[in-house]
């Protein structure tokens, strides 16, 4: 397998009135071509910020550390994403090789421009299609994602579509430029379960059909279990565990991942008590020293948890975890 995008030592801070806020700290991962990676974490874990960094989309007050490197492998060779500056250069990662689907489809479409016009516009920007071809490609894409009567929908506005339909249109739009990487930021969170099931099925079909790499951002472990090959778990801007989805869900190693899975109400066992992860997520201004999870961890091994940032330990070829408990195993 060949790598599609490589993220190395990504550290990202935001300059705010209250001081520097660290949103992402020393995150590294590689996504292979055609692989579906789930990026899981709670609010404030830095998962969306990480994804936006891949498209260089973060706000102007974002500061990338000098060691941060994001390399996108395209047909024409590797691209150093963070060194891109002009809008023309950025076109490669914004809608060219990378497309993004957002959580709220209503907010992602311009309300006063028809769906079709918005789809055609981006095709004209990112390819040398004529307007007529762009239109037929768009209608074909709408049809592909299961929108009935696509030619009529093409001329409709976002408010005329239902929630599930809008999200399908959003997916059609993201895929029409034929991206090699699709970033889906909580694409099913705003949808009802029955619609969510339809969209998950659709995404699975499209993966096998188009074969692009996908980064699936979600807080729902069930959604990850049903869609991803591999999963990265983030907490307070750090990658705490990564591995194949079966491994991580069946045999979670990091105390945070374990807590997250234990906190989920399970339908198979209604008598099981709900066990919350104790405590609250610390404010980004009060980042704990050492391991970021030490303030809520029930398995603190000693002073090193408060003093030392745990390095990522490889448990086997694919599965690694950043926790002091496993340090000896790695040595």
């Amino acid at each position: 397998m060949t790598p599609l995008i490589e993220v190395d030592n990504l550290t990202l801070q935001f300059r705010t009135d209250e001081g520097l806020i660290t949103a992402v700290e020393d995150v590294s991962f590689t996504l292979m071509k055609g692989e579906v990676m789930g990026l899981v974490g709670e609010s404030g874990s830095g998962k969306s910020v990480t994804a936006k960094a891949l498209m260089h989309l973060n706000a102007r007050n974002a500061i990338y550390s000098p060691e941060s490197r994001i390399t996108l492998h395209t047909d024409t060779g590797p691209v150093d994403v963070l060194s891109l500056r002009t809008p023309r250069e950025l076109n490669v990662v914004r809608g060219g090789a990378i497309s993004m689907i957002f959580q709220e489809p209503m907010a992602s479409f311009a309300p006063a421009i028809s769906i079709g016009k918005q789809m055609v516009e981006q095709l004209l920007l990112h390819s040398d299609m004529s307007k007529a071809t762009a239109k037929s490609v768009s209608i074909e894409m709408l049809d592909r994602v299961g929108i009935s009567d696509a030619a009529r929908r093409f001329d409709q506005y976002a408010f005329e579509l239902s929630g599930g339909m809008r999200q399908r249109a959003m997916i059609a739009m993201a895929l029409s430029t034929n991206p090699t990487l699709l970033i889906a930021d909580e694409p099913t969170t705003a949808l009802d379960v029955t619609i969510q099931a339809q969209v998950i099925d659709l995404m699975k079909d499209l993966v096998s059909e188009f074969g692009m790499g996908i980064i699936f951002i979600t807080h729902d472990l069930g959604v990850v279990a049903q869609t991803a090959d591999r999963v990265n778990v983030m907490y307070l801007g750090r990658l705490v565990e990564e591995g194949p989805v079966r491994e991580v869900i069946r045999n979670p190693r990091h105390p945070y991942t374990q807590g997250l899975i234990a906190a989920l109400p399970k339908l198979e066992d209604l008598d099981a008590p709900l066990t919350p992860v104790p405590g609250d997520i610390p404010s980004p201004l009060e980042r704990p020293s050492g391991c970021v999870f030490n303030t809520r961890c029930s398995q603190v091994v000693g002073e090193e948890c408060r003093a030392l940032v745990p390095a990522s330990c490889r448990l086997d070829e694919m599965h690694s975890v950043a926790c002091h408990i496993y340090r000896e195993a790695a040595e």
């Binding site: 709670e42 609010s43 209604l270 919350p276």
Partner: protein, 332 residues
Amino acid sequence: MSDSLIRASGLSVHFPIGSGLFAKQLLKAVDNVSLEIEKGSFFGLVGESGSGKTTLGRALLNAVPISAGTAHYDDGEVAYDLQELDGAELKDYRTRAQLIFQDPYAALSPRMTVRDIIAEPLEVMGLTKGRAETDERVREIAARCRLNLEHLRRFPHAFSGGQRQRISIARALVSGPKFVVADESVAALDVSIQADVLNLLKQLQDELGLTFMFISHDLSVVAHTCDHVAVMYLGRLIETAPTRKLFEAPRHPYTKALFSAIPSLDPDDDKTAQKLAGEIPSPTDQPPGCKFQTRCPHAIDICKAQEPVLATEDGHDVACHRWKELMELVPA
């Protein structure tokens, strides 16, 4: 002697659409709903967006006008008919029935201290004699919701989602209500915090003898917290049963589809059998017959012609023409 706190019969909430003389269209948000909530129970109400669950909750709080039918409240001290409360009764009912909102970020005023937020209902309803008594009540309920004195002096922005939701809960409970509607009260919270708030609600129910109506779209949360569950679709109650019965053997095709749509934690669990096509119809443009027939894989002619009524069997109510034969055909 009945031990139900709320008893609704044929309850409907209709909103007229459009304005002017010729506005004839009605949006039937809740239509002909009958239900009973026992004292001290944790009653779950599930359904997709647009199913009318929030409107039903508000109707029982007398926060939206009831168009037809009756709703009766009886806590042993007082009894009210909610569709015809007068001023003084309504004022008293407000202290007895309260709402916990969904979004703890939007529900708390950023300009008030936590103490003032929690004390406001007492002051507005004139339930205490002076500041000392108010403070006393605020401190007591805050302690129950695991907020300390230091927290009371601060403003909401200093708190995380879970803490904010505990503040909202304290505010709802400070007037000493008997009936609490929790509308998607954990939906905005992260999973690791969600379990904590659910446990707190259960504990408060126990300590204060509360009756909860828990509105949620999340079936696994409902399964773990509620003892009785009602499923809504397009303003109708389509199935209601004790939680265990409902989850062990759902009868309505919609309930079955809802269950099978929950993404399983097991990556190898490939349940595609009961995926529903289409979406919930608009409440202004409702299909004839059974409201679910447009998406039901088992719909036949009678489903399109005649609306099924909620029928009870073994303490398990379902509104479906074909549930019995379907239970034999496709075991849950």
